[in-house]
Structure formats: structure tokens, C-alpha cells
């Protein structure tokens, strides 16, 4: 198979679409029973500009990507788990838990996304404690309320957006607890939730989840300037659910097994496969795109997917150097416009460090 894209989220689908437009035969593989990655859970309107589909709800963008995928005749395998990739780009896949398949790929795009981080405290294994993503999946995909009184731990965009969506689903958000001295998410997101009467507690964390066989109360504690709990500041909150929105880590196992070299970039989630400005890793014709190459947003995932798709197509001979550089520049302009401002600047510098690491290796 000329191009195999692993992951049918926004990055993977965007990569497949770009490559297919160039004429490449593409196979997209996803371990889930439905494609779209995290997109179909995003019921809020996206930011950015018109070309980034600003103002469009996440799930509508997902639908557009799937329609384009279908229109281009791109083959998609669902319920297909990639178990291994060797240095020669041979991929081992298990389909529907039953059938073992091997594919020799001409090029690969790894777009497996990221996973949510866990934070532990006394009682964190009680039913009622779940990741913010689990709550989001339950309310927006399965249309089921996982709880009625939620305490959200973490005030980044995930924590604040999921809190808003929990309010829309009919739950009460009792508090958003943030360990840092300042809130992490965009001001417009926090303002939306603040307007709904949800209190924010900075320099606080959860010390205990209390309950016999499920969460019945949550104990919070204040943190001092060194982020250590201040004894005597414990407070109880009435709640039946705790959602953890404490960061994401790229899912990079496949990049490790394929032999990619890594760098450590904490601002983007941890160990990241080194890639150049064309999204190619240290293994020839193995590309990365989306959260696997650093946790950002859906909009950057789609742009990086396009970049990976264009350059995978070029690596397979479908674009000459001039063509691939011209197309890549268009995408880079869009990426640069997304990585601006106080929030974006940090990510821009972090991504530049990854690309610099790639340059060093070439030398």
C-alpha cells in the first residue's frame, strides 16, 4: 500500500485527503468503531479564521472531513489495531480482534493523537472519578449524564470547555479547581462558564474523593507558592463526579516501535518524535501529524495533517520539490497564524525546537 495513515482523527483524515488529492492510493486505519477522533465530541464552535472553518462546530468539521474522505474513495479500516511497525515500514494490524494482517507501506503517517493524563489522590479509583474526556464522550456521543454534580480538576481549555458542555447537558458544575495560581484556558471560555455561576479556585487541588462505593463529596485544599498543600485549608464540596482535565500526552508507541528518534518537550506533552518542517520523522517516509507530534488543537492537527499528506505524496513521487515546497508554504502560513499571541507563541517556540532537533541530526 503506497500510503498508510494510522488514526482517523482530524490530522489523519486531513493527511489522507491531501495525499489522495495528489493521486496517492491511501489506506486509513483506526482502532475505534467510528472515525473522527475527538472531533465528534466537540459541540462548540471553533476559533481561527474562515480557512480554519472558524465558527463551525467541531462535529460539523468532522462530517465535512468524512464526506471528503468518501468522495475521494479513500479506504478506511475501523476496529483495526496497529500492533507494530518495523523499520522497513511493515505494519502488523489486528482487525476486529480476530484477523491478523500485514501490510508493507510505501509511506506512513502516524496520527494517533494523545491520551489524557491521570492524577491520583485518595479515593481517585471510586466510581464517579473519570477523565474529562470520558464525561465528554458520555454526554456528547452517548447522550448520557455520568453525574449530576461535577467538580472539574484543571482549568485548561479541556477542563473549561467540558465544564460548559456538562452545563449544557443538564449537570451542575460545583467548581473548577486549578493548582496553578492562574487559570489556564482562554479568557472567553472561562468567562462563559463564570457567567453561568461556576466558581473557579486557583492554587487549589483535590486532596480526597470521599464516598463509600462512589463519590459523595470532594475535599479540596489550598496550595502555597511552592504548590504544596496548606494544612487546615481543607474544604468539602458536595459532588458525585470528579472530572480530571490535567493535561494530555502524545500517544507515541508506534513511533518508538518504528525506530523514530525522540526529543522531550514538556510544553507539548512529553516525548515527541523528532520531525522536520515537512513532518517527516527520523525514519524515511514516516511522517507524524496532530497531537502525536505535540499537543495543540484540532485546527493545528488538520494543518499538520495536510502538511504530512503533501509531503508523503511528494516522497512517493507525486510532487516535485517545487510543488511540495509551494504547497507546504501555504500550510505553514496557516500554521503560523494559529501559533500567534500569548497562547500560541509558546507552542510555536516548542515546535521550532523539534524542527531544530531534526536539523541537528541531519548535520
Amino acid at each position: 500500500m503506497p500510503l498508510v495513515v494510522i488514526g482517523a482523527g482530524p490530522a489523519g483524515l486531513s493527511a489522507a485527503i491531501e495525499a489522495a488529492k495528489a493521486g496517492v492510493k491511501v489506506l486509513v486505519i483506526d482502532e475505534n468503531s467510528k472515525p473522527g477522533g475527538q472531533l465528534f465530541k466537540q459541540i462548540h464552535k471553533f476559533f481561527g479564521s474562515k480557512e480554519h472553518k472558524a465558527g463551525t462546530r467541531g462535529f460539523d468539521i468532522g462530517t465535512l472531513l468524512l464526506e471528503e474522505t468518501k468522495r475521494l474513495g479513500i479506504e478506511v479500516w475501523l476496529n483495526a489495531e496497529v500492533c507494530g511497525i518495523d523499520k522497513n515500514k511493515n505494519i502488523w494490524i489486528v482487525r476486529s480482534g480476530k484477523e491478523s494482517v500485514n501490510i508493507e507501506a510505501g509511506a506512513i503517517v502516524l496520527a494517533s493523537g494523545a491520551t489524557e493524563n491521570a492524577i491520583s489522590f485518595d479515593g481517585w479509583t471510586l466510581p464517579g472519578v473519570m477523565s474529562a474526556g470520558a464525561a465528554q464522550t458520555m454526554i456528547n456521543v452517548h447522550r448520557v449524564l455520568p453525574g449530576k454534580k461535577i467538580v472539574m480538576l484543571g482549568s485548561g481549555n479541556v477542563g473549561v470547555i467540558v465544564s460548559y458542555q456538562l452545563l449544557q447537558a443538564g449537570a451542575e458544575v460545583m467548581a473548577i479547581v486549578e493548582a496553578a495560581p492562574a487559570l489556564g484556558g482562554y479568557g472567553v471560555h472561562t468567562a462563559k462558564v463564570c457567567r453561568a455561576g461556576v466558581p473557579f479556585y486557583t492554587s487549589h487541588t483535590i486532596s480526597r474523593a470521599i464516598g463509600k462505593s462512589s463519590v459523595e463529596a470532594v475535599e479540596t485544599v489550598q496550595l502555597d507558592k511552592t504548590w504544596k498543600p496548606v494544612p487546615g485549608t481543607e474544604k468539602l464540596l458536595d459532588a458525585d463526579t470528579i472530572c480530571l482535565a490535567t493535561g494530555l500526552t502524545p500517544l507515541v508507541e508506534l513511533a518508538w516501535t518504528a525506530g523514530c528518534k525522540f526529543c522531550y518537550i514538556p510544553e507539548l506533552g512529553g516525548h515527541i518524535p523528532i520531525h522536520d518542517a515537512y513532518m517527516e520523522t527520523t525514519i524515511e517516509k514516516v511522517f507524524v501529524a496532530g497531537d502525536i507530534s505535540g499537543v495543540e488543537e484540532a485546527s493545528t492537527a488538520m494543518e499538520e495533517g495536510q502538511l504530512a499528506g503533501i509531503n508523503a505524496a511528494a516522497a512517493l513521487g507525486y510532487y516535485d520539490k517545487e510543488g511540495k515546497d509551494r504547497l507546504s508554504e501555504v500550510v505553514w502560513d496557516k500554521l503560523d497564524s494559529l501559533r500567534c499571541g500569548a497562547f500560541g507563541e509558546k507552542r510555536k517556540l516548542a515546535k521550532e525546537r523539534i524542527i531544530a532537533a531534526a536539523k541537528e541530526l541531519v548535520v
Binding site: 468503531s33 470520558a134 449524564l145
Partner: protein
């Protein structure tokens, strides 16, 4: 904790075919094809299993099939990830204890 019947963005819950499933002997009417975990949570069942050593109650954690906190015994087979397994008419679901036992049903 209940279903979301009306939603400002997602609209009204579609009418879908209902099927019968059994949780520790109790009959539930749930939507055909929905995930076992969602069907149980919609019916106020949120304890899915007890751990081997401390018998601690566990429910869903990641919700997308990665963490295995939600595993239950389904039609005699233990360690089924209920958050990504759809219900079938007549399905028998039991709270799992520890790592479970293999049932008499052949695969």
C-alpha cells in the same frame, strides 16, 4: 444518571429500537447498539466491578477503551470493556469480581 433527551446543540434524542439486557439479574430496556457502559449509567448503575484484593468498587474512567477500568462479565466472558462494546438483545451482564472466571459459553 439519566439520558439527555433534549439538547441545545445536539437536538432531540432519536427514537431508536429498544432491547432487553440483564445486569446482575435485573432487566433493563436500553437502546439497541449503544455502549454497555452508557446503557448502565443511563440507568443509574455506575459500579461495574470489584477489584481482586481490596474489593474496591470501580466504574468508568477513560470512557474510550484504553484503561480497562470498566470491564465486566458479558455473556459469560470476563474482562469485556463495556465502554466500547455495544449491547445486544438478551445480553447478560454481571459485575466482575477480580479477574473473573471463564464461563461455559464457547467463543
Amino acid at each position: 444518571m439519566g439520558r439527555i433527551i433534549e439538547h441545545s446543540i445536539l437536538g432531540s434524542l432519536e427514537e431508536k429500537k429498544m432491547v432487553k439486557i440483564y445486569i446482575d439479574g435485573r432487566e433493563l430496556l436500553v437502546y439497541e447498539g449503544e455502549m454497555i457502559a452508557a446503557a448502565l449509567i443511563a440507568n443509574d448503575v455506575n459500579i461495574f466491578r470489584y477489584t481482586k484484593h481490596k474489593h474496591s468498587p470501580r466504574g468508568i474512567y477513560c470512557g474510550i477503551g484504553r484503561c480497562t477500568d470498566c470491564v465486566m462479565v458479558v455473556d459469560g466472558i470476563p474482562n469485556v470493556r463495556t465502554c466500547i462494546t455495544p449491547v445486544k438483545d438478551g445480553m447478560i451482564i454481571e459485575r466482575q469480581h477480580g479477574v473473573g472466571k471463564w464461563g461455559e459459553k464457547d467463543d
